[in-house]
Structure formats: structure tokens, C-alpha cells
């Protein structure tokens, strides 16, 4: 990904994030989150993580944030009333964030930097043959074909990992989602005093 696109998406993401905490209206905050996530999805795509980028848009922006906005609408929240805000917690919070950023810069300054390895056809074909040789993919399968053609079969690779190495966590995740669903129903149910 060209540098300017990286900085563009980064700027979109950070400005969106900043707007989340700067805007007073919760709906505006939610829309700022959407903006932020769009930028984030761009960064994902730039990192060749197409699948993650797509579900970032689909799941987060499409489902989760819609849910947020739905709840905000449901609760019929007004703008936050102007409250006398004590300065101490705000200063303390800002101090905390500043300390975190300073630490972040410190960590980054002392950690080695790397550039992204190339993902051209030669590299991909080489890794395809390595995978075929290790027996994890079929030589004539879609993955090998795509790799040899110089494309990154992102969804296929993730799907393969998800249903082989990560099968058990995937099942557990399904259970977790079920539990969450049941929990939401239980929580949302109007409790009848006579029960």
C-alpha cells in the first residue's frame, strides 16, 4: 500500500476516534466510530488482510454499530446535559493518556523496525510449493492455483486455518454466541413482578 494511502486511512481512523470522544451527541459519536472503523478497514486491506477488513466493515460497522445506534435511539438519549465537570478527573485522565503515549513512543523507539516482506508471484509460488510439500494443501487445489497465479487466496487460507487448526475454538465461539444470545434475551425480557 502506498504511503499516502496508509497516512490517509490512519488520519481517517484517528480523526474518527478523536471525534468519538469529542462529540457530545451519542449518535454523532457512533457515526464517528463508523468513520474510524472504515479507516481501520482500509488499513487492514493495506496489510493484505482482506477478509478481516471486510468483516470489520460487515460485522463492526454494519452490525455492531447499527446495534449501538439502535440502542441509542431506543433509549431516546438526549445530548448530554451540560454538567459542571470537575477538572481533577479530566486532568488525571489526560495525564494517564499522555503517560501512555510517552510509553508507546519509548517502546517504539527501542524496538527494531521492519518493512513489509514482498508478496509477489515468486514468493507466493515458493510458499505454495512449500505448503504442498508439507502436505497441508493439495497441489492442484484452489489455494495452490491462486498462489501460483500470484494472487493471495486470503479467504481460502483463513477458512482452511479456521476449520483445521482452529476448529475447536470455533465451536466454542459458537457456544459463546449462543450463550450471549440467551443472555440478551434474559436481560431484555421485562421482569414480571408476579413471577
Amino acid at each position: 500500500m502506498p504511503s499516502y494511502l496508509f497516512w490517509l486511512f490512519s488520519a481517517v481512523m484517528l480523526i474518527g476516534g478523536g471525534a468519538v470522544i469529542a462529540l457530545r451527541n451519542p449518535v454523532a459519536s457512533a457515526l464517528a466510530v463508523v468513520t474510524c472503523f472504515v479507516g481501520l478497514a482500509g488499513l487492514f486491506v493495506g496489510l493484505s488482510a482482506f477478509f478481516v477488513g471486510v468483516i470489520q466493515i460487515l460485522v463492526y460497522t454494519g452490525a455492531v454499530m447499527v446495534l449501538f445506534i439502535f440502542i441509542i435511539m431506543l433509549l431516546n438519549l438526549q445530548d448530554e446535559a451540560k454538567r459542571a465537570k470537575p477538572m481533577t478527573p479530566i486532568l488525571a485522565g489526560l495525564g494517564l493518556v499522555v503517560a501512555f503515549v510517552i510509553q508507546l513512543l519509548g517502546v517504539l523507539a527501542r524496538s527494531p523496525d521492519t518493512v513489509a516482506p514482498a508478496l509477489d508471484q515468486a514468493t507466493l509460488a515458493e510458499s505454495a510449493s512449500a505448503l504442498v510439500n508439507s502436505g497441508s494443501i493439495a497441489a492442484s487445489g484452489k489455494i495452490a492455483t491462486a498462489l501460483n497465479a500470484g494472487r493471495l487466496p486470503d479467504v481460502h487460507l483463513i477458512g482452511r486455518a479456521l476449520f483445521t487448526d482452529y476448529n475447536l475454538p470455533l465451536q466454542i465461539l459458537g457456544v459463546i454466541l449462543l450463550v450471549a444470545t440467551v443472555g440478551c434475551v434474559a436481560l431484555s425480557k421485562k421482569t414480571n413482578p408476579s413471577d
Binding site: M1, P2, F6, W7, S10, M13, L14, G17, V20, I21, P26, V33, C36, L40, L43, F44, G46, L47, A49, V52, I55, Q56, V59, Y60, L67, F68, I71, L74, L75, L77, E80, R83, G93, L96, V97, F100, V101, L104, L108, D113, T114, V115, A116, P117, T123, L124, E126, S127, L157, L162, Y166, P169, L173, I176, L177, A180, G183, C184, L187, S188
Partner: protein
Amino acid sequence: MATLNDYLLVSGLLFAIGLAGVVLRRNIIVVFMCLELMLSAANLTLVAFSRFHPSHGLPDYNGQMLVFFVITVAAAEVAVGLAIIVALFRARQTIHTDDLTSMRG
């Protein structure tokens, strides 16, 4: 070309924004959104490491698996969390955290 540290810096700043939101905002839904921001910042880090530390010449899909799980669990968490917020609002008629201090010792 953006290097690994550029991605980490951006993700760290997003995390810091999320943290600031959690600490500074008083609307519990906004706080919740900021939590999502922090999770996403972590996701960005994971994806960046997966891309910059390849295995067999391909991005390390173990990192992206983790991102997948995080997003899924976050979706579930949001569902449950929002249900709790709705229940809380029904009980207290407020989602302002300054008013929710019944845990005060």
C-alpha cells in the same frame, strides 16, 4: 512504504484515544464505544504483526485468526453489554456514570 512501527504507532494512538474516552466520557454508551475502539486498536496490531512476520512467505494467519475471534467475541460482548445498559436504564433512568455509584463503599 509504511513500516511496522508506523502501524504500531497508529494503533497505539487509537488505543490511547479509546483509553481517553473510557476515562473521560461519562455516557456509558460512549464509554462502551471507546472500548470497541481499544479492541480494534489491538486488532490492528495483531494484523500488522501477522503481515510483518510471515510464515512460509505468507502472512501469519494465526494472528488473523485471533482477530477473527476478537471481533466475534466483541460482537457478543456488545450484544450482552447493550442489553445490560438497557436494563440499567430501565432501572435507573440514566446511563450517566456519575449517577451510577451504588457500588460506593
